[in-house]
């Protein structure tokens, strides 16, 4: 017990030191972290790298999941809306991009992306309008229903490729400028390998790293946007609505409008993620949009720590990365996932990295409990 406590104090101390750094130093720190992130697949770190699968591709999937997690975090974590059908937005984004760039049109991806996002956002508003008036639990089921309806419509509609799906989806435009070498590890010694390079910036079939760079950039932009919106009247309205919707309304918050806004924002990001995913995959079919994915997305948010943008990104990383890293256990993936969910729900429901306020509230609870137990002990000792 004391060891754990000491560790926690050290972590808290370190955190305080970092938070206390002057602004300039913090910016430099963030830039360094971002550069490291961009360079990660080039570094091919021995333990992290995924054997048998393109590491860049896995990292791209991670960024897509991070986007999804950020979007769903707005709906579930900030506004407190239970959404079990988020894959629907993801699908609409993917299918819009697919249809526009391949199946029924020849649009370049950069034009199709905004359309995909627009279509998804509109669908978010249309979906939210009738359903957000519905009570909490029921909202979960309605959204689940919608997610499945969207998938089943895709499966059964020829215009959307039916079960076969849509292929030849456009890639982002390439501009071949220069080559970047990878790192090669001889045991624990890194060497620059100029035979193994990534072209900046070519979106091809074999080398997925440019996709990762694109995904990472979008994640960073969305992170900024998230911060700006959360630290404003909008973020406060969402939190108040989540905490106590009736009281919020009586304090002048137009809760329905803000719930709709949360839904639309989540849809926006979900559609963007779906379109990017479709572009990298080059091919989509309804199997990519099963209910299972809605649950995976939700798990990423809850496991990571709903309400904390960094937490949900960690959750997304785990959910996207671990199955790829441990592919040899593929058979047991879902089983382990289910067990993880159950354990999480019972032992750490707030998630791995909950928002600081949840931690503070929990800490307060524990201090009060400790006080109460201390008093009992004293009385017991005296008796």
């Amino acid at each position: 017990m004391t060891n754990g406590h000491a560790l926690k104090q050290q972590a808290a101390g370190l955190r305080a030191r970092i938070v206390g750094l002057p602004k300039g130093a913090k910016i430099v720190l963030w830039v360094l972290i971002a550069l490291l992130a961009y360079a990660l697949p080039l570094l091919e770190p021995p333990l992290l790298s995924t054997p048998g699968t393109d590491f860049g591709g896995v990292l791209f999937t991670v960024t897509v999941y991070m986007l999804v997690a950020l979007g769903l975090n707005i709906v579930v974590g900030y506004a407190g809306l239970l959404d079990l059908g988020y894959v629907g937005f993801y699908a609409i984004g993917a299918y819009t991009a697919a249809v526009l760039t391949s199946f029924h049109g020849n649009w370049p991806l950069l034009l199709a992306l905004p359309m995909a996002v627009l279509a998804t956002t509109i669908s978010g508003v249309l979906l939210g309008w009738p359903t957000l008036r519905v009570r909490g639990d029921y909202l979960a089921i309605v959204t689940l229903g919608f997610g499945e309806i969207i998938r089943l419509v895709a499966v059964n509609t020829e215009w959307l490729g039916a079960a076969k799906g849509i292929s030849q989806i456009a890639r982002p435009p390439s501009v071949e400028l220069f080559e970047v070498p990878h790192l090669h590890w001889d045991g624990w010694v890194p060497l620059l390998d100029f035979n193994d390079t990534t072209t900046f910036i070519k979106f091809g079939v074999l080398d997925q790293i440019p996709y990762y760079w694109m995904g990472l950039t979008v994640v960073i932009v969305v992170l900024f946007a998230d911060r700006l919106v959360k630290d404003s009247r909008v973020g406060r309205a969402w939190e108040a609505t989540r905490e106590d919707e009736d009281a919020a309304e009586l304090m002048g918050v137009p809760t329905f409008r803000f719930k709709l806004l949360a839904f639309a924002s989540g849809a926006f990001i979900g559609g963007l993620a779906g379109a990017l995913y479709a572009s990298r995959q080059n091919f989509i079919n309804p199997l990519s949009f099963l209910l299972l994915f809605s649950i995976l997305f939700l798990a990423a948010v809850v496991v990571g720590g709903q309400g904390n943008r960094w937490g949900v990104m960690v959750g997304a990383f785990l959910v996207a990365y671990l199955p790829e890293r441990f592919r040899e256990f593929a058979e047991f993936r879902v089983l382990v996932f289910g067990l993880a969910l159950m354990l999480l729900a019972i032992f750490r429901p707030e998630g791995l990295l909950p928002p600081r306020r949840t931690l503070r509230a929990k800490q307060m609870e524990q201090e009060i409990e400790a006080l109460e137990e201390g008093v009992d002990d004293e009385e017991g000792a005296r008796a």
Binding site: R233, D244, E249, V253, P254, M364
Partner: protein, 273 residues
């Protein structure tokens, strides 16, 4: 029992503006009549007390005024305009704010953030202003921040601004709720049993606070069980029993009103607080 000081008696040279008019308000839930033809009004700058035994319909009346319940018949007019059937957040934006009998703060938000939500009521920043940090956002944030800190200081809890609402002491939570309600810049402030759970010293402080609030220009509608507090701070009192108004008048008149005494059935002032 020393003479209870009455609030300043009002003998206006001209009639004061009526901020709230409750007009033959009836509220039925299925077979139950919670409010039966209740009528009263509140004048600008008044502190009106709403009292009555448990179950008389006081909180129901509050709920009707703030838009939680829709009147079955009758009308409620605020500043001359009807608020029956108006959306709750709109009613708050028009100028009626309230606190709750069983404290409903936003637990996971800090004290400051709770009050900021109140100041947001009259703001119009939307997602675009927030995202691009437009001047409207900056202006409203600054105004809101200043006003919120001012209110926290007024309530004496400015030092707790960054504490989570859930972690505040009971008394501070009650004070925070009042600050939050005031932050919405209301004309009419409805307080639902603000002194519940307070000891006599805290109640005396609360009385002072309510007077100060009124002196700032707010009109106050107060539900309270503590007779000493009610007698000491209100200008007029309305008494409800079983959903009906049974008396209305200055505290001194109400105190001696046999119907009121009967309604409370043997509970006299000395034992009430």
């Amino acid at each position: 029992m020393p003479d209870v000081p009455t609030a300043q008696s009002v003998s206006p040279a001209r009639p004061r503006k009526r901020v709230l008019e409750v007009d033959s308000l009836t509220l039925k839930f299925g077979g139950l009549t919670a409010l039966d033809d209740v009528s009263f009004h509140i004048e600008e700058g008044e502190i009106l007390g709403l009292i009555g035994p448990n179950g008389a319909g006081k909180t129901t009346c509050f709920n009707a005024v703030t838009g939680v319940y829709r009147p079955t018949s009758g009308d409620i007019r605020f500043d001359g305009q009807s608020v029956a059937g108006v959306k709750r957040f709109k009613i708050t934006q028009r100028g009626i704010a309230r606190t709750f009998q069983n404290i409903r703060l936003f637990k996971a938000m800090t004290a400051l953030e709770n009050v900021l939500v109140g100041t947001d009521a009259k703001h119009s920043t939307g997602i675009a202003s927030a995202l691009f940090r437009l001047p409207r956002h900056r202006r409203e944030e600054e105004q809101g921040h200043d006003r919120a800190m001012e209110l926290l200081r007024f309530m004496g809890i400015a030092n707790k601004a960054d504490e989570l609402a859930a972690n505040l002491s009971y008394g501070d939570q009650r004070r925070l709720e009042i600050a939050r309600a005031m932050a919405t810049d209301p004309k009419l402030l409805c307080l639902d049993e603000p002194a519940a759970g307070f000891n006599p010293a805290e109640k005396a402080k609360l009385m002072e606070l309510i007077r100060k609030v009124r002196d700032q220009g707010y009109t106050v509608l107060l539900i309270e069980h503590d007779m000493r507090l009610v007698m000491g701070v209100t200008d007029r009192i309305v008494v409800l029993e079983f959903g009906q108004k049974i008396a209305e008048g200055a505290p001194a008149e109400i105190r001696d009103n046999p119907a009121v005494i009967a309604a409370y059935l043997g509970v006299d002032e000395d034992d009430a607080s």
